[in-house]
Subunit: 183 residues, 4 copies
């Protein structure tokens, strides 16, 4: 079974990134994946300072969950044309030990028109720690009107693209993870 | 007189980003600029959550200092091929009100070989809030051996490039700031 | 007077990039700039091979026109999420001698939804040869329905953004070009 | 058997990109891959104009070879901090039909210090047409002194990194290509 961890890079209570992540996580579960969502709003992560994080046990929670996973779903709000500092900091708290070889699907959420700025940076960052970022990616523009009351995407085409992203993530995580040969 | 604010995106005690920033700030002062260094290690900034920051008066300190400045020196450690989450989060706590039209010089500091990854992202982020990022930029590779005991850059060519970056920043801040016509 | 050169990176007869460039060039002329449009469809440029281009006199035409200019308007179709090879090759045929210190305004034209991919790359490329790329930039999405029969942009907001880009380009070329101090 | 196509984006006679590609192609053959190198210096490709290329049969040669391949080795000189116009134009002459789902390994060659600028853009471009770009990538700096008389890389570490890139490319092309399930 494919093990995925989902992380959304927003601390807003009514975060659209978390809504997008919830859709993706649910779809991945439907496809048989085991999905752990790490809600950064519920965790107490420090800013990355390159030292000891003994006072912040959630750093170990983050690191262990990601290390144990085969793949990741990363959802980021696009702030100032890039990944949120919140998500980048969470990634800064990890390194090759946790991220190398992981298969990653990326989603961005924007207040304005959809754009690939944050997705491009996130792809480059994940590549840097030798993760595999799948070709499919989804940017959800005008997020304030993108979701209905049930938390589903209003735009059927966009919903389908998000579904396909998750399908690709699950399929390719199976193909790419180191253990895949042995199963 | 040109007013600059300097920010280094590292929280490490022995940060090389802060050393690089100190060199640049000192050079700018030599050229007649008024430089305020905001040391994020001394400030208590929260993660950006899009809400109210009344409990974190340093957010207002950051916003007011940057708003009052004509230009910025931004020094970032390159973490995972991009800007540190610490610096991105500080930028996320501001917006057009503080950053639009500011003239920006960018420096990155890396443990490994020099690369433009973080500088590219920082340029794109600053552009997004309509800052002017000057063409000159400096990446300081293998930072652990780049500085001497006095905190100066060992490599004379790199030191000269950093000097030229600051000269360009001061000169062009004078040319580009809105008030330049009236002086 | 500000001297600008405009180049569109498309060879299509009915190119929308050329239409966008024509609007920008006309606006710049209204603002008092002298604008030379180099139409790559009318020129015979070779692929850049790093050798001698004596057989291709248009290389010298390109180089001399850009060298003599204070600023550039670059319009590119977005092909595969980046600058067209046609435009990149034209830029490859020049270097610091022609491009250093030039002030550059960038426009992209896409068949699909607007995106900043090509603009980001073009900004990075122009920066590399030490040009000043102004913060304003315009991406024209769904280009096939973006222009009316007179070649004007249908969307009034987008038209205004393109106007403002040109205004900024003309204003800042005056401020930034080396000769500006002496006039 | 894995079928690879190699393309180097330089037209220089003594091109270092072609040397790097030759090393990679040879290594891939050692690993059992069938490698076709398309030498753009021997082909007559037109600039992409979006029309009919009947007068340029090499466009069809390019398209058919890439379409028939499982993966690609792309080697580009870094010109002005990005992919060469020559290589971008060759990619512009293809689209999803040829490139979708292909597994891609990327190499850049620079006159100056190694940098990831061209590699980043090439990764983004290949992603755009839904290729899989493997995490490994190699930038060969100061190319004029990087190769010995036999065309091998002087720096043993760099040579090893290039070998590992090719190993990863061959291994992952087998895992990722659509037909892999059936073999």
């Amino acid at each position: 079974m494919v093990k995925l961890v989902g992380i959304a890079g927003s601390l807003r209570t009514e975060s659209y990134s978390h809504q997008a992540l919830a859709i993706a996580a649910s779809k991945a579960q439907d496809l048989g994946a085991e999905v752990t969502v790490l809600d950064l709003r519920q965790m107490t992560l420090p800013f990355c300072h390159g030292g000891d994080y003994a006072d912040h046990p959630d750093v170990a929670v983050l690191q262990q969950a990601v290390k144990a996973a085969d793949g990741l779903i990363l959802a980021t709000p696009e702030y100032h044309g890039s990944v949120s500092g919140v998500l980048k900091n969470a990634l800064d708290l990890m390194s090759f030990e946790q991220l190398d070889g992981k298969v990653v699907g990326t989603i961005s959420v924007l207040g304005g028109q959809a754009n690939s700025n944050a997705l491009n940076d996130l792809r480059k960052i994940a590549r840097w720690v030798h993760a595999w970022v799948i070709p499919e990616q989804v940017a959800i523009g005008q997020a304030w009107q993108a979701f209905d009351e049930q938390g589903k995407l209003v735009d059927a085409k966009l919903a389908e693209r998000l579904d396909k992203l998750v399908e690709s993530l699950v399929t390719h995580t199976q193909k790419l993870r180191p253990s895949s040969v042995d199963e």
